[in-house]
């Protein structure tokens, strides 16, 4: 094994199709027009010395190291800023060039400490490399004069010098080593789009600073790490590299946090992870990442990880550590006993969107083939199940239509019910880049998310709807498009069912769907709606991106259909730059849905009642499959309360914290006789568990994740599982204990089984993924290279189906007791229930959940910023601290749900989407009042949690 080295071509690739031929050092080479001479040379294998150039950013031309000579032209142009021209002849190495370069290097080094041997960048430093490349042998100037290197000059304080900034938990900034190449500043602007860094001063006085000369952690910096990666010196360096040293080998793998699915190089020293570096060839992230994937992996070695299996008879008992064999045998006999006593359908399983496709597949296989029922569900139930339902009804596939690259061709983007800068930061960076190039943005969200206005980005329209009125606003947009004659008739006639369209068009054209009529419930001025509709329909390639603010409603599925209708009526389907794009929450939400995690569907979204599909699996598995749909998570909990559901195997999910109406979830779990939790930590659900099986992290296993663009990415093992087994091995052992004859030796064999049974995965194998890097399903005979964009020549279901979308107000209504509407969301630095990110230094950015409240509502209630407030709904109450902001409209409050002490889901109700039971997280009627401490519920909950985390013979396990 060795390090995966990536070539820095110096400037980005040109998109031109026209080729230009030139000669470099006597070699003839043809490159696309617009390519820099530097890049052309690199493509020919000639590395021109450079310092300020990186192919992640546009050329800048400041270091003057990359000079070349061109026959017949005077002077020495910088090769990074000079484009190729037909027929020119370039020399990259002449005496004159050598002299100039050496002079340039000498100047750099004269203001640079000669610390190489003890420097963290030693071995990975471009400045060092360039000194070597130009043959720098001595430096004639000392540090006696003006410099940035020494804290003191001849005993005097050196005002040019600045101390190291170590405020960021993950990287340091040492101005003494800065060569002011501005790569970091440009990375922050061009790659990340945050504009947190600036160069202040001029000439010799110029220096890099974060924000208004703040330290990093108090600046706008979101800790994405792009600047750290861009820096050619030790100025910006990961603290882990400073601590450990340079890595010696690296393995390409996939981030286990969000649905963007960034590719990373896990850079290792032995089995120690030195750092995670975004991989330039990663087709989802193109070399960028966010703070979570880049830095927040410390949870994997956190002391709270449970490494031994444990069981207990009652949830009030302390845990007892047992051997794996005992644990498997116990689960097997308990599940058999329960099924004997209460019937075959009294047990079930929950698959995880955090686990790999292979692991998810095995859990659903265990339920269907081992338990003999279809009681399997996944946490996508609580997030994107309406996406599957809605897109399947309208288009015929339960997935988004585009790849992320598509955004580079978008002219108008609609973001609805999503907050990409926090939830999907790498996609947000790519979107912002496109917006800076001139694309237009429409935001539909109750809250003024960052994208509405941030550095160099401003939405053309923000429609601040009242929570719960998505269908009304989308139907109003459709009304404008249809009644103003903006529909793309040619597209509809060719691709969609015309009579269904006519029916739908007549429906949306009804006057009561007009923006003027819907204004009363949406709260959005009609003119804004009309303007936004016209812009989307006529502004060129229109793409819709949406998130949980769409799905987590009583009308979640209807909203997804309304989105699909809008895309079809404007012809925005089937090519780059357009489409319907669900932004998936967790890393493998798409995959867990694909893998047959739903109680009514086998892998590949085929209904359980379909005889041919069942037969495929029956033959392979040697069992008869039940043809009835099973229970969904909320139904399981209802059945548990009813006394007909008694045993649950939960892999990698924390339903007690993540699912709505905590008290109902707790009651359901408490009514079960055997709850098995497989996780890294004693999560909240484990408080109600009888068996705990330690889980493994994504660093400890092989597998695949499928991201929001249907991209199947490899997860590669870089260290042995600390708990001894990868999660798929644990499920396999459990299956064996239950008498199933499973003998997978490696996850690749599981993928082979998936490919053999699931037509959309037919060509997928680990070998093929290694060869291709990644593929987007469908990947089969018809689409051997995968399918970056779907519905290109027609919809998967045949004709696109327009479906009427009638707005129905949720029954969750405000009233005198609960006059405010609560909506929930997440924040950049944390992930889902926070079990992982809370166990990293990411807590410096978000130590607690806060309640955002408008100044007007706060004042009425006598609440000041930072006060403790009681948040109550008809389900329950909790306390947290207020954050007064006009990001939320009067009448609306907002919070995140990352911290178990807040238990925001004590507040949320059990209302859910009509089609899929996806809970209505995004609308809850609440009251807010001043408070001076935790509620009784929080105190009881803490006590129960503490009690239930005891492990016999050990000190109390820490949360």
């Amino acid at each position: 094994m060795s390090l995966v080295h990536e070539i820095n071509y110096g400037t980005p690739a040109s998109k031109s199709e026209k080729l230009v031929t030139l000669t470099i050092d006597g070699q003839e080479i043809s490159v696309p027009e617009g390519t820099s001479i530097m890049r052309a040379a690199m493509e020919a294998g000639i590395e021109v010395p450079k310092l300020c150039a990186s192919d992640m950013m546009d050329a800048f031309g400041s270091c003057r190291l990359c000079l070349v000579e061109i026959e017949g032209r005077a002077g020495m142009p910088a090769s990074c800023t000079t484009p190729v021209a037909q027929g020119i002849s370039v020399s990259t190495q002449t005496q004159r060039l050598k002299d100039v370069r050496r002079g340039v290097m000498e100047l750099y080094i004269s203001d640079h400490p000669l610390d190489c041997l003890t420097c963290a960048a030693n071995g990975d430093c471009e400045l060092q490399d360039m000194a070597g490349a130009v043959g720098l042998r001595d430096v004639r100037y000392g540090y006696d004069g003006s410099n940035h290197v020494k804290a003191r000059n001849n005993g005097e304080i050196n005002i040019q010098w600045a101390p190291k900034d170590e405020s960021n938990p993950y990287f340091t900034f040492d101005p003494a080593k800065c060569i002011v190449c501005s790569r970091c500043v440009r990375a922050c602007e061009e790659v990340q789009g945050t504009f947190a860094l600036t160069i202040s001063g001029r000439g010799f006085d110029s220096r890099v600073s974060a924000g208004m000369s703040e330290d990093f952690v108090s600046s706008e910096c979101v800790s994405c790490g792009a600047c750290v990666q861009a820096c050619p010196t030790a100025t910006l360096t990961e603290k882990s590299v400073i601590e450990i040293g340079q890595p010696e080998h690296s393995v390409v793998t996939t981030c286990a946090y969000c649905g963007v699915g960034c590719s990373f190089k896990a850079e290792m020293r032995g089995e120690e992870l030195v750092r995670m570096v975004p991989w330039k060839d990663g087709q989802a992230n193109r070399g960028h990442s966010c703070v979570k994937g880049r830095f927040a992996y410390g949870y994997s070695s956190h002391k709270d990880r449970i490494l031994n299996p444990m069981i207990r008879d009652k949830i009030s008992d302390p845990w007892r550590e047992v051997t794996w064999e005992e644990a498997y045998a116990h689960v097997a006999s308990e599940f058999r006993r329960i099924q004997y006593q209460y019937g075959r359908d009294s047990v079930g399983g929950i698959t995880s969107s955090r686990c790999t496709n292979e692991e998810t597949y095995l859990v659903q296989k265990l339920v269907r083939a081992g338990f003999g029922n279809n009681n399997v569900d996944t946490c996508a139930r609580v997030c994107h199940s309406p996406t599957g339902y809605g897109l399947n009804q309208t288009f015929g596939t339960s997935a988004g239509t585009q790849n992320f690259d598509s955004v580079e061709h978008t002219d108008v983007a609609i973001i609805i019910g999503a907050n990409p800068t926090d939830g999907h930061p790498v996609f947000a960076s790519r979107l912002k880049k496109r917006l800076r190039e001139g694309a237009k943005l429409i935001v539909i969200d109750p809250r003024r998310i960052d994208l509405v206005r941030s550095a160099h980005v401003e939405a053309s329209y923000h429609l601040p709807i009242k929570p719960g009125t998505n269908v009304a606003i989308l139907t109003a947009l459709a009304h404008v498009i249809v009644t103003e004659g903006l529909a793309d008739e040619a597209f509809i006639r060719e691709r969609c069912d015309w009579s269904e369209f006519e029916d739908w068009a007549a429906f949306v054209a009804e006057p009561y769907h007009s923006p003027e009529a819907t204004e009363a419930h949406t709260g959005v001025a009609a003119e804004l709606v009309r303007g936004a509709a016209r812009l989307y329909a006529t502004g060129g390639n229109g793409a819709i991106y949406y998130g949980l603010g769409v799905t987590e409603h009583s009308q979640g599925s209807t909203t997804v259909m309304a989105i699909a209708n809008l895309a079809m009526v404007t012809g925005n389907i089937g090519r780059p730059g357009v489409g319907v794009n669900p932004l998936r929450g967790q890393n493998n939400v798409q995959g867990s849905c694909d893998m047959g995690s739903f109680p009514h569907e086998l892998p590949g979204y085929r209904h359980i009642s379909d005889d041919a599909t069942r037969e495929t699996f029956e033959k392979l598995w040697g069992v008869t499959l039940n043809n009835e749909p099973g229970l969904r998570i909320p139904n399981m909990l209802d059945a548990a309360v009813d006394g007909t559901f008694k045993g649950l195997y939960i892999q990698g999910e924390d339903i007690l914290q993540s699912d709505p109406d905590t008290k109902h979830v707790a009651a359901g779990l408490a009514a079960m006789e055997c709850v098995v939790v497989q996780d890294l930590f004693l999560n909240e659900t484990a408080n109600y568990a009888h068996v705990f099986l330690p889980g493994s992290t994504f660093l400890e296993k092989d597998g695949t994740f499928t991201n929001a663009e249907r991209r199947i990415n490899r997860v590669r093992k870089v260290m042995r599982p600390k708990n001894g087994y990868a999660d798929w091995e644990v499920t396999q052992k459990l299956a064996q204990a239950m008498g199933l004859d499973w003998n997978y030796g490696h996850p690749s064999e599981i993928m082979d089984e998936i490919a053999a049974t699931t037509p959309t995965f037919a060509l997928v194998s680990y070998d093929y993924l290694d060869e291709m890097g990644s593929v987007q399903w469908p990947c089969n005979e018809k689409a051997p290279l995968g399918s970056p964009i779907m519905h290109v020549d027609g919809f998967v279901r045949g004709k696109g189906k327009f479906i009427r979308t009638e707005y129905v107000a949720t029954d969750e209504k405000t009233g005198p007791r609960f006059p405010l509407l609560l909506t929930t969301g997440r924040i950049l630095s944390h992930y889902n229930v926070g079990a992982q990110t809370r166990r990293t230094d990411n807590v410096v950015w978000h130590p607690e959940d806060r309640l955002e409240i408008h100044p007007h509502d706060a004042e009425q209630r006598g609440i000041r910023d930072g006060d403790w407030v009681r948040l109550a709904s008809r389900s329950g109450d909790t306390t947290l601290r207020a954050l007064i902001t006009d990001r939320v409209a009067p009448g609306v409050v907002y919070t995140t749900f990352h911290h178990p002490t807040t238990q925001a889901n004590v507040i949320t109700t059990d209302f859910s989407d009509w089609a899929t039971n996806c809970p209505e997280y995004k609308v809850t009627a609440v009251q807010v009042s001043p408070s001076n401490g935790p509620t009784d519920w929080q105190i009881d909950y803490d006590e129960q949690a503490r009690q239930s985390r005891r492990i016999a013979g050990k000190l109390e396990a820490a949360e």
Binding site: D345, S554, E628, A639, V641, I803, R804, W914, A915
Partner: protein, 76 residues
């Protein structure tokens, strides 16, 4: 069988009916039935039928209209 879960089932069935009510009239009842057949586990359908046999109080008439098209689960 708790009254509470029964109330929930009625509520869910009515939500489904509400959606299909807005669809073209000739598709509405079939829509409700297909949806329930595809997504409701036998226990839930059984309870729905029990409730209908007891008069079906509180159910949207469209659910009652759809009932003959809903697959009857085998007895428990």
């Amino acid at each position: 069988m708790s009254a509470n879960t029964n109330a929930k089932l009625i509520y869910m069935a009515n939500q489904i009916a509400t959606f299909f009510q807005s669809q073209p009239a000739n598709e509405a009842a079939q829509g409700v039935a297909t949806h329930i057949n595809k997504y409701w586990e036998s226990r839930m359908r059984r309870k729905l039928f029990e409730h209908i046999e007891h008069g079906g109080e509180g159910l949207n008439p469209l659910v009652l209209e759809a009932a003959p098209k809903i697959r009857k689960p085998e007895a428990a």
